[in-house]
Amino acid sequence: MVSSSWTPGRILLLMGRLALAGAFLVAGSIKFRQPWQLFAMQVDSYQMLPNWAVNAVAWGLPKFELVLGLLLLTGWQLRIVATVTAALLAGFFAVMVRTYAAGLEINCGCFGPGEKLGVKTLLRDGSFLAVALAVAIGAFLSGRKRDPIAGVAPQPQKAD
């Protein structure tokens, strides 16, 4: 019975996974719809990467975010996907904290142009990171059987 799996922890795991999926799909689609050269200006304003890397990030990140969002939505290979998500968000958060601490007043670029990097964006991305970590840990702690809610892939069962 599926109903036996609806524990509070798993419901939270599901909500966290879907929230992250939504965030990545929204962020990715906004960036994907705009020319990558425009997103490159936002990446460049962080003043961290050489031009070739700026262009690579601007071209690839929106697509990567969309793929990540879809994977989170389906729950396929959740352990790996959640770990990658948490690592990516940790990277974003570190860059944003560094930029904010350096006093650079730039656009965040997180959800398209026009949003200043500040306390609000740090709080939001810190929350994303916390949720991603929780989802990743939750995915690893989930049972070894197929979990239709958390989305963990079935594991091979040993014969007794």
Binding site: L12, M15, G16, A19, G22, A23, V26, I30, P35, Q37, L38, A40, M41, Q42, D44, S45, Q47, N51, V54, N55, L104, E105, I106, N107, C110, F111, G112, P113, G114, E115, K116, G118, K120, L123, R124, S127, F128, A130, V131, A134
Partner: protein, 303 residues
């Protein structure tokens, strides 16, 4: 808890993004009028209501010096046409010159052809290090490669931040605007940015401006500077109003008009630049390197 914050902030972000993306585009020739004349029910006002006030940009009351002719953004019904509501007589004394200056605050601060396919409007503060970096590393090359070639119409806008760390920013903007009125904006702009660290330390603006101009030009600039006092940082609005209105500092009217235009975008940090091409427009803040800006401009040109 974190999930609740996440959902809330995500909702705010999406809302803000949608507001941004539906921000109406303006035609280059209609820029000033479109912003200033849009009433409380206009699209620009809608955009303003849906955006939070800037965190580091001047607050309305803090910078709205009394000489500004177009009032700073106010809620519908509270908009006042008077420059200084506490001194109606003095408000009338705000000269026609000030009104004319405010009507076209970009006079002398534009470069290139108005018919260029791309318009780039840069809001900057002469005492801001990032603005200096943008000017030195990007805008100079842009002037040579795109503005001179008639591809980009460049408009400089003043956005001096009224913070103690930028206590000479407004005075620098006044010098630049005075120079603009005698057709020497580019020279003074270069002098101010090239020597930013020097005059930021001791306020010796006049020395560097004078070095960029002939004695006759400097005399004209100083004449235009007459009556302009206070640095906006630490000066109360009421005091600033009386001070400037009484002397009719026409330069401050132009600067405040630029600030007003910036607040309507809204400019949240300096430098901020708005790039317009046809019905597309984008706003970006911070320093962007020339190659990265160039590839975006080339993309726009290819559309």
């Amino acid at each position: 808890m974190a999930l609740a914050v996440l959902i809330l902030t995500l909702a705010l972000s999406v809302r803000g993004t949608l507001v941004y993306r539906h921000w109406p585009a303006r035609q280059p020739g209609q820029r000033v009028q479109a912003v200033v004349n849009s009433g409380p029910t206009g699209s620009t006002s809608d955009a303003m209501r849906n955006n939070e006030p800037p965190e580091t940009t001047p607050k309305t009351g803090a910078v709205a010096s009394g000489t500004i002719v177009g009032a700073m953004p106010q809620p519908p019904g509270e908009r006042k046409s008077s420059a200084n509501p506490t001194h109606p007589g003095v408000a009338k004394a705000v000269t026609a010159q000030s009104k004319a200056a405010a009507a076209d605050s970009s006079a002398g601060k534009t470069f290139g052809s108005k018919t260029a396919p791309i318009t780039m409007e840069v809001f900057s503060d002469f005492q801001c290090p990032s603005c200096r970096a943008l000017y030195e590393d990007t805008l100079k090359q842009l002037m040579n490669d795109y503005v001179a070639a008639g591809k980009v119409y460049l408009i400089h806008r003043d956005f001096p931040l009224p913070i103690p760390a930028h206590k000479y920013a407004r005075e620098a903007a006044r010098y630049a605007n005075a120079a603009a009125r005698i057709g020497k904006y580019a020279e003074v702009e270069a002098a101010l940015y090239d020597n930013q660290s020097a005059w930021s330390a001791d306020g010796s603006l006049e020395k560097y401006v004078a070095a960029a101009l002939t004695p006759a030009e400097m005399k004209k600039v100083k004449k235009l500077m007459e009556g302009c006092t206070g640095d906006a940082a630490g000066v109360t609005p009421a005091k600033t109003n009386g001070q400037q209105a009484a002397h009719g500092c026409q330069l401050d009217a132009a600067i405040d008009k630029d600030i007003e235009l910036g607040q309507q975008i809204p400019v949240q940090a300096t430098p901020t630049f708005v790039i317009r091409h046809g019905d597309q427009h984008t706003t970006s803040s911070g320093v962007v390197t020339y190659p990265v800006l160039k590839q975006y401009l080339d993309y726009l040109m290819s559309q």
